[in-house]
């Protein structure tokens, strides 16, 4: 009885939207990796999609209040995993982000940490008694999110580490910050910019510089932006057709099936295709917001909004990067870019949203 009700009460529109987006992703991965060494990526992504559905199911079964109760332990586990990553991790493209777990599979602790951050922020803010955030609340939140953020940034994986921030930001926004807090956070951010510049690696600085002016180094750090813009622009209104995009097929487009999958999609499906994809994403996010609005309690609302903020951030950054409106980062397009960890973590977050939704129906 209970099991029946839960399946029926899952957020089916949200699930269908997610599946539609993931299917377009698989189609594009197939097209983008044709005749390349990543040719098998499309069906692997299918397998990850299936695994993601299972993960979502699991994440929706255990009451999110139970999960919130386990936050200290989950947090501790994620910190330990992040600390272990530099020791056990495999080096890819100059950074260590992955821990091999056998069978040729790799686990990305930073993706798991995203979930933990969502729960952590939700729990902390839901437990507050007042309607206003105190300075010490902000400091505690900043400290708790800042530690894993720094660990991920040190891998180095600046992109993923930055995805923690929208969760925190939306949490604080909803939690009720004082205007003095907002001002001081912004001021602090401005003051930290020069420091940040010093901390950045050379390639990261180059990316920022070329974000401002890609033609500065057209064959170096500006190459990706320039080629991605060419791919997108060449797609035109209706696109070149599946497997017909020259930028994608002749590999002028870098990392086509992961970071720049959306550029490949834009080249082969045109502006019309992009309207459809963005429409799907928009509806998906609105569906999640709707779940936040109807959440049974504050914690549930914060969870949904955290997930929503995270997905929105990733979408903006990835799709914006493809047209040169965002600097280059390794942040994948949620549900579309090839990658098991990303797929699993997004579906687990959708599982959390369903989790919140299912608790609502009980009452």
């Amino acid at each position: 009885m209970a099991s029946y009700r839960r399946i029926r009460d899952l957020d089916w529109p949200m699930l269908i939207l997610a599946l539609a987006i993931a299917s377009l992703g698989i189609l594009q991965i197939y097209s983008a990796t044709l005749d390349s060494k990543f040719e098998s990526s499309w069906w692997k992504q299918g397998v990850w999609l299936a695994a993601g559905l299972v993960a979502m199911w699991f994440m929706s079964r255990v009451d999110y209040h139970t999960l919130l109760g386990q936050v200290p332990m989950l947090y501790a586990i994620s910190i330990v995993l992040l600390l272990l990553t530099p020791l056990l991790g495999v080096l890819t493209m100059g950074s260590k982000r992955w821990i091999p777990v056998g069978f040729g599979l790799h686990f990305q602790p930073s993706e798991f940490t995203k979930l933990v951050i969502v729960l952590l922020v939700a729990r902390y803010l839901a437990e507050l008694r007042g309607d206003r955030l105190e300075t010490r609340d902000l400091l505690r939140l900043a400290g708790m999110v800042g530690l894993p953020l720094l660990l991920v940034a040190a891998q180095p994986d600046l992109g993923t580490s930055l995805t923690f921030l929208p969760i925190l930001a939306v949490g604080i926004f909803l939690g009720g910050p004082r205007w003095q807090h907002v001002v001081s956070i912004l001021a602090l951010a401005v003051m930290l910019m020069p420091v940040g510049w010093l901390v950045l690696k050379d390639y990261q600085r180059a990316r920022l510089v070329t974000f401002v002016d890609p033609t500065r180094d057209p064959m170096g750090s500006g190459y990706q932006t320039i080629q991605s813009k060419i791919a997108v622009g060449a797609g035109g209104m209706w696109g070149k057709g599946v497997t017909r995009g020259s930028q994608t097929q002749l590999r002028f487009l870098p990392v086509t099936h992961t970071d720049f999958l959306i550029s490949a999609f834009a080249e082969e499906h045109g502006f019309a295709g992009m309207v459809v994809v963005f429409g799907l994403y928009f509806l998906l996010l609105m569906q999640i917001v709707q779940n936040a609005q109807s959440a049974p309690d504050r914690a549930g609302m914060f969870i949904c909004m955290g997930v929503c903020a995270l997905l929105l951030f990733q979408t903006i950054v990835n799709a914006g990067m493809a047209v040169g409106r965002m600097p280059i980062t390794g942040i994948p397009m949620p549900l579309m870019s090839y990658g098991g960890s990303s797929m699993l973590s997004v579906f687990m977050m959708l599982g959390l949203v369903n989790n919140v939704r299912l608790r609502r129906v009980v009452s």
């Binding site: 309607d131 080629q227 997108v232 622009g233 504050r298 979408t315 903006i316 409106r325």
Partner: protein, 626 residues
């Protein structure tokens, strides 16, 4: 962090909510967030609209330009052959490395230069020089890569190292080693900035190889052919995915020279390491059989890897190895000029067989004493003896009677004072003075005393070795001057000049030149037994007698030795002029001419059947050594 009881059951939250469950407090903020989402997607969509709808054509063109790449197919340069079709200059298959500028990264320039053993500054300068050109112009990096360089290129061609390096098949020039025929052939070199700015080379691009001297330069357009082009579709690693079109290269034309390598070798050996020149030509056709200027240079030196320091040493060498003396040295011809004066006097009817002069070792004209080269004097001489003994006093008399303008008339008819029109770059015209010439060039009246010096090939008169061979060649073939040429196909007959001189006058001059060699004259040392080899010696002063007598002047002021010879006496087939700078006396230049003439007739006697091995092996090592 506040703790929450972990023993809570999921469903108990309904009755005793531990978390605050009213969520309405954030409703307004959530609505605001929704607007943020709308704004975010609007922001993204405008980005895609801008690229995909507003600027589709621009990006489509860029995508197209990405894929299509044009690679040059260098045309093989024409070979250069001698008159017997023996290869003098050949090509061999080689790899040429070019730098594609469409994907050039400036920080790669130095490491590439270092990897190839080039001067980084030089390469950077070259890259800079290309800045104003469109990016589809490729920069030539290196010709004829060695195995080490090829290894470097192959190891660094990937996307992650130096994708701008591009290897193309090309032809590389091989010249005879040791400078054989160096001045005839010239050499190939990279076009200079100065040349790029000149109208002659307007159609060329920086880095192009062009002929710099000799045949390579004069016939550059014929030899070079037309480069082809290959348009290909490439991927991001510049691997060819599809060939879109090929425009084949049109190979350059082979050139057959009139040069006979056998004679060329003999002439070079005869001149040895002396500064001087030898020009051998067939006066009947104007074909150059051998042309030597010494010291010479090895043409291989300039192709591909030019070491600027060594090049500079060639350029600043006081012996001027880059100077083509055969067509550029303008020196007083001395007594080799006398046959012209003799002919002029005969034609003008001023002298005959019986006109004699007493030579006491000098004569006075216009208040000045002119010495004969023989201090003791020649005694009484007629024209025949005066020529054989090279008696200056006799020719002073002729000069005085003729006057400068008559001498100039005959000398100009023989080609003095103007270019012969040989198909070689840089030919000089020499000087044939006349009263008009002096007014024009020196703004001065001609003094009769100056004619006396000109009559013995001194004073203002200068000639190149080629001019001398040309002039005497025309004289001894009955007054027909064929345009000298060095490439077989060059049209010579059209440019022939003819003079209507009395045959007996010309025969008399020819006979007197025979006496020089065969009747105990000044060229007796060059006699070839059994052959009617004729000629005229000359020793031309570089400074006046007075100066010479006064001080101890250095070797560079010693007289230049000349000899111009021909054979046989009737219907001459070959005329050879030799210059031996600071050689003091013409009978030192005589043996050089004798050797060449002898080699010519020896070869003729042997017939075409037997090809001497010496020449083949002189040219061949260059071809095999690479």
């Amino acid at each position: 962090m506040r703790t929450i009881p972990s023993e809570r059951q999921p469903d108990s939250s309904i009755t005793k909510p531990l978390y605050r469950d009213e969520t309405k407090f954030a409703a307004g903020k959530i609505a605001a967030f929704q607007w943020v989402v709308v704004g975010a997607f609007f922001f993204l969509l405008t980005g895609y609209w801008d690229l995909q709808v507003r600027n589709e054509e621009i990006y489509n063109a860029k995508a197209l330009r990405n894929q299509i790449k044009s690679l040059p197919i260098p045309a093989p340069r024409g070979k250069i052959l001698d008159r017997d079709n023996r290869i003098i200059v050949d090509n061999h298959e080689a790899f040429k490395l070019i730098l594609s500028r469409e994907n050039l990264r400036e920080e790669h320039v130095r490491p590439i230069a270092l990897g190839l053993g080039m001067e980084p500054d030089v390469l950077e300068a070259r890259v800079k020089r290309y800045k104003p050109r469109p990016t589809y112009f490729t920069i030539p990096l290196k010709e004829d890569l060695t195995r080490e360089e090829l290894t470097f290129v192959e190891a660094h061609r990937g996307e992650d190292s130096f994708p701008e390096m591009e290897l193309i098949r090309s032809q590389f020039r091989i010249y005879p080693q040791g400078g054989l025929a160096g001045h005839v052939i010239g050499y190939l070199g990279e076009i200079s900035d100065g040349e790029l700015n000149s109208s002659e080379w307007a159609a060329y691009n920086p880095g192009d190889l062009i002929g710099k001297m000799g045949i390579e330069r004069f016939y550059n357009e014929v030899l070079k052919g037309v480069d082809g082009q290959r348009r290909v579709r490439v991927d991001n690693r510049m691997n060819t995915r599809e060939i879109l079109g090929i425009k084949e290269a049109v190979p350059g034309k082979d050139l057959q020279l009139t040069i006979d390598l056998d004679l060329q070798v003999v002439a070079e050996l005869a001149l040895q390491s002396r500064r001087g020149a030898v020009v051998a030509l067939d006066p009947r056709t104007g074909e150059i059989l051998a042309l030597v200027s010494a010291p010479s240079y090895d043409s291989n030196y300039f192709v591909g890897r030019v070491n600027s320091r060594e090049l500079a040493s060639l350029m600043t060498d006081p012996a001027k190895p880059m100077f083509n003396r055969a067509v550029q040295a303008q020196l007083a011809p001395g007594s080799t000029f006398k046959p012209i004066v003799a002919l002029a006097a005969l034609e003008e009817g001023l002298v005959d067989e019986n006109t004699t002069v007493h030579c006491p070792g000098g004569a006075s004209y216009y208040g000045r004493y002119f010495r004969c080269h023989k201090r003791g004097g020649h005694g009484t001489v007629n024209l025949h003896k005066a020529m054989a003994q090279s008696c200056d006093v006799y020719f002073y008399m002729l000069g005085n009677r003729l006057g400068i303008d008559k001498i100039a008339e005959y000398a100009e008819a023989a080609g003095f004072g103007k270019k012969t029109g040989i198909d070689m770059p840089g030919e000089k015209e020499g000087v044939m003075p006349s009263s008009r010439w002096k007014i024009r060039n020196l703004r001065e009246k001609w003094y009769a005393g100056e004619t006396i010096s000109v009559a013995i090939g001194q004073g203002y008169v200068t000639s190149t070795p080629l001019q001398l061979a040309h002039a005497i060649g025309g004289l001894v073939t009955g007054g027909v001057w064929m345009r000298p040429h060095i490439v077989k196909e060059a049209k010579a007959a059209a440019a022939a000049r003819k003079a209507e001189y009395k045959v007996e006058h010309m025969v008399r001059v020819i006979n007197s030149m025979c006496a020089v060699v065969n009747e105990g004259g000044t060229g007796a040392a060059s006699r070839i037994p059994g052959m009617e080899f004729c000629g005229k010696t000359g020793s031309a002063q570089r400074v006046s007698n007075e100066l010479m007598d006064k001080g101890k002047l250095g070797a560079e002021y010693k007289d230049d030795a000349w000899f111009v010879g021909f054979a046989p006496r009737t219907d001459p087939e070959i005329v050879v002029a030799a210059l031996f700078e600071n050689g003091e006396h013409g009978n030192l230049a005589g043996p050089i001419v004798r050797d060449v003439v002898k080699a010519y007739f020896d070869k003729k006697a042997r017939g075409a059947k037997k090809q001497p091995q010496t020449v083949a092996s002189a040219a061949a090592p260059a071809a095999e050594g690479r």
